[in-house]
Amino acid sequence: MKRSGVTQLALMLSPVVVTLLFATLILLAAGANPLEAFGNILAGAFGSAKKWGDIAVVMVPLALCAAGMLVTFAAGLWNIGVEGQIVAGALAATWVALGVQGPPWLILPLTLLAGAAGGAVLGVVIGALRTWGRVNEIFAGLGMNFVMVALTNYLIFGPWRPPDGATMSGTEPFPLAARMPMIGSSRASLVSIGLAVAALFIVYFLLRDTHWGLRLKAIGLNSAAAARMGINTHREMIVAFVVCGLMAGIAGSLQTTAVYFRLIPQVSGGYGYLSQLVVLLSGLRAVAVPLIVFFFGAVQVGSPRLELRMQLDSSLGGILQASMVLFFFLIKGWRQRLADRKERNA
């Protein structure tokens, strides 16, 4: 079925339009002026140059995790454990930042390496549970997420507690040598942005132009036939979890060295879960990810203003993000049903 470019674009944008209508209804029900609310979100997101840096701070972990999950999704694996992989990266980076003395050019790359390794190790665990242990990867990942949260709390209130007593605010701040340089006075770091962009390019290339990427797709679409073709499905699945872990681990590492400058209890910020929505919305295409994470970032940064200016709860931002995903799939499913019916009648 060939469609004109305009129709294609309209179909792509239809979930956005429906989401905005839905949000309008909610705002009307809450007795707020929808136009004012949307205006406030926009102003909150783009009101000043500094805001662009804040948006980038949200985009980086989302893009890194989404890049990693494009890999696991390609292999037909639902890596819920990406959230725990972020935490694992953050823990490993903190261990370096608090434990190793040295100049920034040594410490910062070490924190990144450690973070990547931390996420990868968790990837091996989830992958081994999935393949040898025959534990569904959703349960394996979810279980590991809880383990990692518990481990974080133990470390913050135990071995890594600040000298003047443990608090919910986390470990003591990192030394200056373990802090990423920022762009001007913004909160964004060029290193972080560069790594996120690189991750998306690497994944795009891996999935499109390598034997390994093709094998992953084969496993994802029909693992029985892939195994008959001689593909080592277990090994490739574990490697997919590891590659995802590398990227999520770097995201976790950056959360400590470029955002909070310490380890905090909620270091992952829920980006692991949010990035699942990003990947679902992207239709598993790396090229769509930047636009989606930009939208998510803008909503995230802009919605607190609702609370300040209109005394509305800022969770409207979350509603916008989640309902967009739901409408995206509703419209997709509904179009599929129409197509099926057409085919039956033909």
Binding site: W212, G213, A218, L221, N222, R228, G230
Partner: protein
């Protein structure tokens, strides 16, 4: 319950399954339904039991016209079907399964259900533990449970599709006694089978289907020769076969035992030479697939050896078989053979590893794909997804994806569902491989195909295997007897 099927027609696309079939079964009668694979027996019974609909024709139950709209609707009017593979919920207990399909309120009353199950078991001599998990039962016990369940739901016509495959001799005796009792009480029974002995010992009358048509009805006692003749028809003159030197051993199987959840093959001995074509005959699910999967290294045998050259590969991983030139072309093309959603080009890139190291060479994959599309006459483009190809083209693509040199090539139903010219092309391609020394082993339910292309034929019947017979000298009659379980 009196059953009348009048002038039933059913097609699946181009394939005619039933073509004007008439069948009348009196209350209290046990009717055998015989025929080769693809003769239309199962389709006819699926129409009667509500799993599918006829394109045309009438169904009368006790003189009242009723076309079951679903299995649940069929059982409501008293028609229940026992499938070849038990259709139960293996994770649930016997009692839970027994209660499935029973109507009633929200609350499930355990006690009356238990009483009803125990009553039925007692009546037929079944020994079923109500608390046992169904997955742990034998196929025979699951069948007993299913029969009890259908009776409790009020079935007055019981259809059994090849019910004796995979069950023990005492279980079979018990089942036959139960069926005879039920017939005496006025229930009608349809017994779909290919086993002559069983039909002779159980049925009052027999209907034979061939190629979707009713070709004969006989009353007991039956003449076995007549039944075989009706089922398989006359022998076609065998086509001229190119003479290929058969030399050296390609594969040797010694005392092989292999089993799955339903069947067990034991003590299979087999010696296949280079360039030889071995046909595996028999009704589907009689053990052919199991033997092929064992030889391909997909299923691990319980005992015995599989020798390629002098090396015993039994128990080795699948990759070891592949590396030594063993390949299997599955009948389930899109489930086991190819990857729906991937293009032809991606398949060739996967199987032939275009490019060096990490990076794929798409231009090389593209030209390879174009070459193979031309060489194998595949109607499709490099970027066509394999699931969009027709069955014949999928089969050609599967052959094109195989390595150039193979020691043993196993094929499940290589031409099933293909038109005549596609089938001929497939065989000319396979025979070319044979001339290069590859041993071919294939299953088919088409006796003509088996006789035309095989050097030797082995016949499978319910997990038992005949010694290989020479194809040029065997008759359809002899094969028919073997498939019917005589002389094994």
């Amino acid at each position: 319950m009196k059953i009348e099927l009048v002038n039933i027609h059913k097609r699946y696309g181009a394939v005619v399954a039933n073509e004007g079939v008439n069948l009348t079964i009196a209350a209290g009668e046990i009717r055998g339904l015989l025929g080769e694979n693809g003769a239309g027996k199962t389709t006819l019974m699926r129409i009667l039991s509500g799993y599918t609909f006829a394109d045309a024709g009438r169904i009368l139950l006790d003189g009242v016209e009723h076309h079951p709209s679903s299995p649940a609707d069929a059982i409501r009017v008293g028609v229940g079907m026992l499938h070849q593979d038990p259709m139960d919920v293996p994770q649930l207990s016997v009692l839970d399964n027994f209660g499935l399909g029973q109507s009633g309120g929200l609350y499930r009353r355990r006690r009356p259900m238990l009483a009803s199950l125990e009553h039925l078991c007692q009546r037929f001599g079944f020994k079923l533990d109500p608390e046992a998990v169904v997955g742990s039962l034998t196929v025979g016990e699951r069948q007993q449970l299913e029969l009890a369940r259908l009776l409790a739901l009020g079935a007055r016509t019981i259809i059994l599709d090849e019910p004796t495959t995979g069950i023990s001799a005492p279980q079979k005796a018990l089942l036959f006694d139960a069926l005879k009792h039920l017939a005496q009480e006025g229930l009608s029974v349809v017994f779909v089978s290919h086993k002559l002995d069983e039909v002779q010992s159980l049925c009052d009358s027999v209907t034979v289907l061939r190629k979707g048509r009713n070709v004969g009805e006989l009353e007991a006692p039956f003449d076995a020769d007549g039944l075989v003749h009706l089922m398989f028809g006359q022998q076609l003159p065998a086509g001229a076969r190119p003479v290929v030197p058969i030399d050296g051993g390609a594969l040797e199987v010694r005392q092989l035992s292999v089993r799955d959840h339903r069947l067990s093959l034991d003590g299979v001995d087999l010696h296949v030479r280079r360039g030889e074509v071995l046909g595996l005959a028999g009704l589907e699910g009689s053990g052919q697939q199991l033997l092929m999967q064992a030889i391909a290294g997909i299923v691990r045998p319980r005992a015995g050896s599989i020798l390629l050259g002098t090396e015993d590969l039994a128990g080795r991983p699948y990759g070891a078989f592949r590396d030594r030139g063993v390949a299997l072309v599955p009948a389930a093309r899109l489930e086991e053979g190819m990857i729906p959603g991937l293009s032809l080009r991606e398949h060739f890139a996967l199987c032939h590893h275009c490019g060096h190291g990490l990076v794929l060479d798409w231009p090389a994959a593209d030209s390879l794909t174009r070459e193979q599309i031309a060489a194998f006459h595949i109607v499709g483009q490099p970027l066509t997804a394999v699931d969009k190809l027709s069955g014949g083209n999928q089969q050609r693509a599967l052959l094109a994806l195989l390595p150039a040199e193979l020691t043993v090539l196993l094929l499940e139903h290589p031409t099933r569902g293909l038109d005549v010219s596609s089938a001929q092309w497939i065989w000319s391609n396979l025979l070319a491989r044979r001339e290069r020394g590859t041993a071919l082993i294939f299953t088919s339910t088409d006796l003509d195909e088996l006789l035309q292309y095989s050097d030797r034929i082995m016949v499978f019947s319910g997990g038992r295997v005949s010694a290989p017979v020479d194809a040029p000298t065997v008759t359809v009659q002899e094969l028919g007897y073997l498939i019917g379980g005589r002389g094994l």
